[in-house]
């Protein structure tokens, strides 16, 4: 093959491509574009559904991913957790794998980190024991009694979250598909204690929601097909509404379950999480979108660069006449 500019372009050293990707993935963090993210129907439907819930309801937020897909799945799980906490909806947190339990811890720590504006201030199970002993377990009465005793919400916090009333960290159990199946009969039978060793049976949120039939939504965040366990073992068997948060590459695998009504909606990739953050901001829950929205700048730049590479590769291919010679096609059909 005769060496010319087109052949040199086609044989571009891949390290140049890697370098350019590295640059476009880094620069937006320092020079944000802040392009608007328009929420799509599949994300709006989850948001709207959560909007219909309140303290008398309960949801499951299942961290079904490992650190590999943390950048995509974590912002989704964080967004829906913040939404639920802001509406005082009790949340059961689960994980489908040992590594996923670590992600649960990391996500929960992020939502309740006092160094992050808009965090939720934890009141531990032990801290509000005196109120339980007086029979004060209803969400509104509990908060009123807690604040009447001189407890003041920190300035940068969005609200209180009472362990056992607003959330229970159930964590990971082996053979998680069977755990879901078992929870359709009894949550306590599967999890006698939460991750902190607190007895689930005494928790008001469990007394009001004994099994998955008493729960109003399960939101699963996954980088694998593990999210389907919730559809198979809870959605289809006891009609538990399910919402998915999945990686962008697997988002197209599950849209058919939205069409069939088996899913409330789906957040696909970082974009889905960014859309949810925008919805939270538009609804007035938080002043600013969170990490996913910032990450969208990187995606914008990377997608543009990939589009540029595709166009460049095709220009070189046709302008160099390689489509006629068949040399590049040899052995590829």
């Amino acid at each position: 093959m005769k060496e010319n500019i087109w052949s040199r372009m086609l044989n571009l050293d891949r390290r140049w491509i890697f370098l350019l990707i590295g640059v476009v993935c880094t620069v937006p963090f320092f020079v944000p574009f802040g392009l608007p993210v328009l929420p799509t129907k599949n994300v709006i439907s989850i948001f709207d559904y959560v909007e219909t819930l309140g303290p008398e309801n309960a949801i499951f937020v299942s961290f079904d991913f490992d650190p590999g897909t943390d950048p995509e799945n974590m912002p989704m799980a964080v967004a829906i957790t913040r939404h639920a906490f802001a509406r005082n909806i009790p949340v059961f947190f689960t994980a489908n794998a040992p590594l996923a339990q670590g992600m649960l811890e990391a996500g929960f720590t992020y939502v309740t980190n006092p160094n992050i504006a808009g965090y939720f201030h934890i009141v531990s199970w032990q801290e509000w024991a005196p109120y339980r002993e007086q029979g004060i377990t209803r969400r509104d009465r509990l908060q009123a009694a807690w604040e009447a005793d001189g407890n003041v919400l920190p300035e940068n916090a969005s609200g209180w979250v009472f362990e056992g009333r607003d959330f229970a960290k159930l964590g990971y159990l082996p053979a998680f598909a069977l755990v879901i199946m078992g929870m359709t009969s009894s949550i306590e039978a599967q999890y006698p204690e939460d991750m902190n060793g607190n007895p689930l049976a005494q928790m008001p949120m469990l007394q009001e929601h004994k099994n998955l039939r008493d729960v109003d939504l399960a939101a699963t965040f996954s980088g694998s097909a593990a999210c389907m366990w919730w559809v198979l073992y809870a959605g289809d068997t006891i009609s538990l509404p399910i919402a998915f948060g999945v990686t962008a590459v697997s988002a197209t695998d599950y849209t058919m379950y939205i069409q069939s009504g088996q899913l409330v909606g789906q957040m696909g990739g970082l974009r889905g999480a960014a859309e949810y953050e925008v919805l939270l901001q538009e609804a007035g829950y938080f002043e600013h979108p969170d990490r996913a929205f910032i990450g969208m700048d990187v995606q914008n730049a990377a997608h543009l660069l990939i589009l540029f590479f595709i166009i460049l590769g095709n220009i070189a291919y046709f302008a160099g006449g390689f489509h006629k010679k068949g040399a590049l096609l040899k052995g590829r059909r």
Partner: protein, 214 residues
């Protein structure tokens, strides 16, 4: 006997669980609940077997200084040290699972960055592959190329700026042609799974026995 007993367990257990699914009665629920309790217990034994097998394999390589034996050491050390720190040692000895324990450090500062790095490498390889492989060589390749570009640009805000039709057309491709193909594949796979499971339950497919009783 080595074949008959496992086959009988699978036959009875399999049929029981199929029937149970269609009977919304308390007895049926109790059967299911008992099964769901048994399985993690059996899985725990499998875990012991797996860890034992892994230890024997890699221990053998380390002892014999087989090629790449340090990698075997890299498997064995965390396999035993992390649970020891996480489950056995007290917090005063950097044990336990909460920060600032060794377990927590190993997870947050070794496991998380390693796995995130591995996954993020995809961005680099996808860009390289897009440049080298996405060529309009034929009609089908051109359709694939255009579809990929439209769906890709429909997923990011900058695509909406370039053309408001990007997200609309991208969503249409996902909702209709994509779902039609996915459903067809999904149904085929579903029937395949059903057929295989029935073959296992009725003892036609016996590879899972691993040659026991031969």
């Amino acid at each position: 006997m080595k074949r008959a007993v496992p086959l009988m367990i699978v036959l009875v257990g399999g049929i029981l669980m199929i029937i149970q699914y269609f009977i919304p009665h308390q007895i049926s629920q109790d059967v299911k609940d008992n099964y769901t309790i048994w399985i993690p217990i059996i899985t725990a034994f499998a875990l012991v077997l797996g860890v034992g097998s892994l230890t024997r394999l890699h221990g053998h390589k380390v002892r014999n200084r087989a090629p790449n034996w340090p990698y075997s050491l890299a498997v064995l050390l965390p396999l035993y040290l992390v649970p020891i720190f996480g489950l056995l040692l007290p917090a005063s000895m950097a044990g336990g699972r909460d920060a600032p324990s060794v377990f927590h450090f190993a997870f947050m500062h070794i496991q998380v960055p390693i796995q995130s790095t591995m996954f993020s490498l995809l961005a680099f390889y996808i860009a390289s592959a897009a440049f080298r492989a996405f060529r309009a060589k034929s009609m089908l390749a051109t359709i694939l190329l255009l579809t990929a570009v439209v769906v890709m640009m429909g997923q990011v805000p900058i695509g909406e700026l370039l053309g408001s039709w990007f997200p609309r057309v991208g969503l249409w491709i996902i909702d209709f042609p994509n779902n039609a193909a996915k459903r067809a594949i999904g149904l085929g796979v579903g029937f395949g799974i059903l057929a295989t499971q029935l073959k296992i339950i009725f003892g036609v497919e016996r590879n899972w026995l691993g040659g026991a009783g031969d």
